[in-house]
């Protein structure tokens, strides 16, 4: 947080972290009844882009994220990262790796490790750094993200907003190509949420990583994203792609600008429709 936003160097796009989702289909078979979660979804995300995935709860957005991260298989289609095949019909399950790190909805900081040990976990496990270097780098990155002072607390002792930031720093410690965020700010109250948005952008401007961000909140999507993909209810596929042409670096005043409100109106209708369909179908909370 120390570097003033305005003074940040003009934003140059990195050359890595481009994701191509090509005609992906995913069919679950919970006790026999085949349920299609993803229906021929195709989406392109450029390197270093913030791509927001917006859709009603339980529509299959998380299934897409799990496929990219390599937790679940896909039934058919392909997913590429910088041209290499992550998973395809032949190799349905991508193998997880530190180039694609997930930040989970209810958080996955190890409660039994201090915040510092959590952040240093990645490089330590992969043996890139020895213990003291890893802790040193971790301390630096945490201070950089405004988390100095909570290194030796356990995750359970700090606020949920702060836990979110520690988790993102833990991800960035491994210099990933892609950050996969699954509704990270859902449980926060809106005042803390607004601070989290700025903190995320702050970290993004310094680390230039591609962000695949799942959310229900349209305002959050348009405020943060370069690109907003609005998904249909289950089975999900992109219904409308919105290129958000508000220049980066952005900050909160964007929210009340005229252009932002126009973008909101343009997409609100599409999102509302899908929400009603999900609402009517009595979808149990995703």
């Amino acid at each position: 947080m120390s570097a003033m936003v305005a003074a940040a160097p003009p934003l140059t796009r990195p050359t890595r972290g481009a994701i191509v989702i090509d005609d992906v289909v995913k069919i679950y078979d919970p006790d026999g009844a085949a349920v299609m979660a993803v229906d021929h979804c195709s989406l392109e995300i450029e390197a270093g882009e913030i791509c927001m995935i917006v859709g009603p709860s339980g529509c299959g957005k998380t299934t897409l994220l799990n496929a990219i991260a390599g937790f679940h298989e896909i039934t058919s289609g392909r997913i590429l990262l910088d041209g290499e095949v992550l998973c395809s019909s032949e190799k349905p399950k991508a193998d997880p790796g530190s180039d694609r790190i997930v930040v989970f909805q209810n958080g996955a900081l190890f409660p039994w490790k201090t915040n510092l040990d959590n952040v240093a976990f990645g490089p330590l496990m992969q043996g890139q750094l020895n213990k003291s270097d890893a802790l040193e780098k971790a301390r630096g990155m945490m201070a950089d993200a405004g988390l100095a002072g909570v290194e030796h607390n356990f995750p359970g002792e700090v606020s949920s907003g702060m836990r979110r930031r520690v988790e993102i720093v833990r991800a960035l410690m491994n210099d990933p190509k892609v950050l996969l965020l699954d509704e990270p700010y859902r449980a926060l109250d809106s005042l803390t949420k607004s601070v989290m948005h700025e903190a995320l952008l702050e970290i993004y401007y310094k680390n230039k990583v591609t962000i695949f961000f799942i959310t229900h909140d349209l305002e959050e999507a348009i405020f943060l994203g370069h690109k907003v993909a609005i998904m249909t209810t289950r089975p999900c596929k992109p219904k409308k792609i919105l290129e958000v042409d508000i220049p980066h670096p952005r900050d909160y005043s964007v929210l009340t600008s005229k252009h932002f409100r126009e973008l909101m109106e343009e997409t609100n209708e599409a999102v509302h429709e899908e929400a009603l369909k999900a609402f009517a179908a009595g979808e149990k909370e995703g």
Partner: protein
Amino acid sequence: MSEANILRSAIKAGELKAVDVSKSYGASHFTKEVVSACSFTIERGKLTVMIGPSGCGKSTLIRLLAGFEKPTTGTITLDGEPVTGPARDRLVLFQETALFPWMTTYDNILYGPRARGEVTQETLKLAEFLLTKVGLQDFRKKYPTQLSGGMQRRAELARAMINNPRIMILDEPFRGLDAMTKELMWEYYSALYEENRRTNFFVTTDIDEAIFLADRLLIMSNIPTKVRAVFEIDLPRPRRLADLIESDRSNQIKMEALSILHGEAMKSFSRGSKAAADFVDAYSKRMAKT
């Protein structure tokens, strides 16, 4: 007479008045004041919204209004009579659902009348009407754990309305819902209010929710909480989300309210540990801009 008219005619909207109420916990040198000399009126038939940074003591205030706890000083009166304990004329919807998990939706809704032994033919008809009103007529036999978050909230609204309280108190009821269901619930809840004009007292930390719902907006200070500012929201009713985004008046109110709220939120942050200072840093940058 249709059930809707029965419901509407039976409503006696109440007026809740708090006169320099304060509440502190603990004893000897360990006391902690949560509410200090807080006075406000929840006008009859109005939807009053209270907003303040999370953890500023709003929930304690709600427990005082509902009668679960007694204020250390000051008085709370409903239509003149002092509030002594929990009663059917002041019903609370908590942040997490308080539907009884071991009762079906139908039994939950009929709990109040059955507990007071006031189940008549009319009550059963009213229950049917409310079930269809909240769109749960074919979920009557389901248990709360089988309903989605949005459905649980609507079932709880029905359970409260059948007891015909003079004032409905809601403590951030839509907080756990995802943004889309939340917005649908805003429109649904405000339509419900506009239909019955019962006195409603709604607590939240979300400024958009507050402006969309409120006739009158109370902005609370940081802990120990007291009323910091009052806004009359004169937006036309019935309220639609689409017009909220366009109307300049609502955006203007939002910016004013936000500036006060940030001031209060900053005070609560600045007292915390070093990390809190960074939050203040983020806020001060934004304040410089708006």
